[in-house]
């Protein structure tokens, strides 16, 4: 019974499940590129896929969170992203960069979700002035100086950032999320959004100009 409990709590559950015939030890995947690991998955190597999940789950969850602004939904959608990757393993072609493909699926899911729930979300923004009711956490309030007034100001500032990023046109919004928060370069963002590098750059420039204008009261 003890062993079972340990197994159940182990986050690398997939490895345990499919350890029977792995081609590589977990450590080896660090030296392989993502596309090669995907090729391994096509032959049934789940340990490699587990490695990819561990590598990308946090960035993808964060990306989703900033799109849908609800942690439970973000995690649900992130799981859906990985399930789609898994389901498409047979059709994956190595010439497409894995992370580009990953973010394209994530972007698509997030955008569709946002469109479907647009009405609900605009109604809920009224309550955003309160402590983050979406997540139950207040990530930005937990730091530095105490005092009700500065907390209020910080919350107000956070709400303004979220709202103005949300208000950006769809493609500008996605580009900012990938550029600012996922640390991706123009080339890769362009690949995800199917835009040229220079178009991506001007998209981002306009987005940041808008944000600077809207947020100047907080700078």
């Amino acid at each position: 019974m003890d062993d079972m409990a340990t197994l159940a709590i182990n986050p690398r559950l997939l490895e345990n499940l499919q350890a029977a015939e792995t081609h590589h030890a977990a450590g080896d995947f660090g030296q392989m590129d993502d596309a090669a690991i995907m090729m391994e998955l096509r032959t049934g190597n789940m340990a490699g896929f587990d490695f990819l999940i561990q590598k990308y789950r946090k960035p993808i969850i964060h990306f989703m969170y900033r799109m849908v602004r609800n942690q439970a939904v973000a995690e649900e959608l992130a799981q859906e992203v990985f399930l789609r990757i898994y389901r498409s393993r047979e059709t994956y072609r190595a010439e497409a960069r894995f992370s580009t493909w990953l973010y394209r699926i994530a972007t698509n899911l997030g955008v569709n979700y946002a469109r479907d729930t647009k009405h609900e979300r605009s109604a809920s923004t009224i309550y955003l002035d309160e402590a983050d009711s979406e997540t139950g956490t207040t990530p930005d309030v937990a730091d530095s100086t105490p005092g009700a007034e500065s907390n209020l100001l910080r919350q107000e500032r956070l709400n303004a950032i979220r709202q103005h990023v949300l208000d950006l046109p769809e493609r500008q919004r996605m580009a900012v999320l990938m550029h600012k928060y996922e640390g991706m370069d123009y080339k890769q963002i362009g690949d995800v959004l199917k835009l040229s590098e220079s178009a991506t750059k001007s998209l981002l420039f306009r987005a940041y100009q808008t944000l600077r204008e809207k947020l100047k009261g907080f700078i």
Partner: protein, 166 residues
């Protein structure tokens, strides 16, 4: 007004101040008051955006995903190689089932009602759970990728400035 030539270079400089390719921009900004002001305000906006932190993934993300993947695996091993392999591993799979039950119990305990409609497949070919069926209703991946072309941007210049890259 900021010098047109350096407008978008401000972003490059923000991202990678030390890059040799940005030296000329840096030099201009240091000597041009307008551009310097532009750069500083963009820098401040950039820093302000850092305030928006995303929460850590919940501790049960991995288990939930493992369960869903396991269901997916049981449902449809894709290629002949995997089919063969899953047949060979059938006995191995069975011995892990109690562990999956344990994981499920844990998730149900912690996750409340949210994942309560899971059923444990007792055989790799049994009927899919409600969750998997829901997932199957969702678009196929190819369709998902196609809709990327429909991403909206209400500012016209985008489309004018963007030659279709393929």
């Amino acid at each position: 007004m900021i010098c047109k030539k350096y407008q978008s270079a401000v972003l490059d400089l923000l991202l990678d101040p030390a890059a040799p390719s940005n030296a000329a921009v840096r030099a201009h900004i240091d000597s041009c008051e307008e551009c310097s002001r532009e750069f500083k305000s963009m820098e401040a906006t950039f820093a302000l955006l850092d305030v928006w932190q995303a929460p850590e993934p919940s501790p049960y993300f991995d288990q939930k995903l493992a369960v869903r993947l396991r269901e997916e695996q049981a449902l449809a091993p894709a290629g002949w190689f995997e089919r063969l392999k899953s047949r060979l591993q059938f006995n191995t799979g069975r011995q892990f089932r109690p562990a999956m039950a344990g994981a499920l119990a844990l998730i149900l305990l912690v996750g409340g009602g949210t994942v309560a409609d899971f059923t444990i497949p007792s055989h790799p070919n049994t009927e899919a759970s409600a969750t998997v069926q829901d997932l199957q209703i969702l678009d196929k991946n190819d369709q998902a990728l196609q809709t990327m072309d429909q991403l909206q941007d209400d500012s016209q210049p985008d489309d004018a400035a963007a030659p279709p890259s393929s």
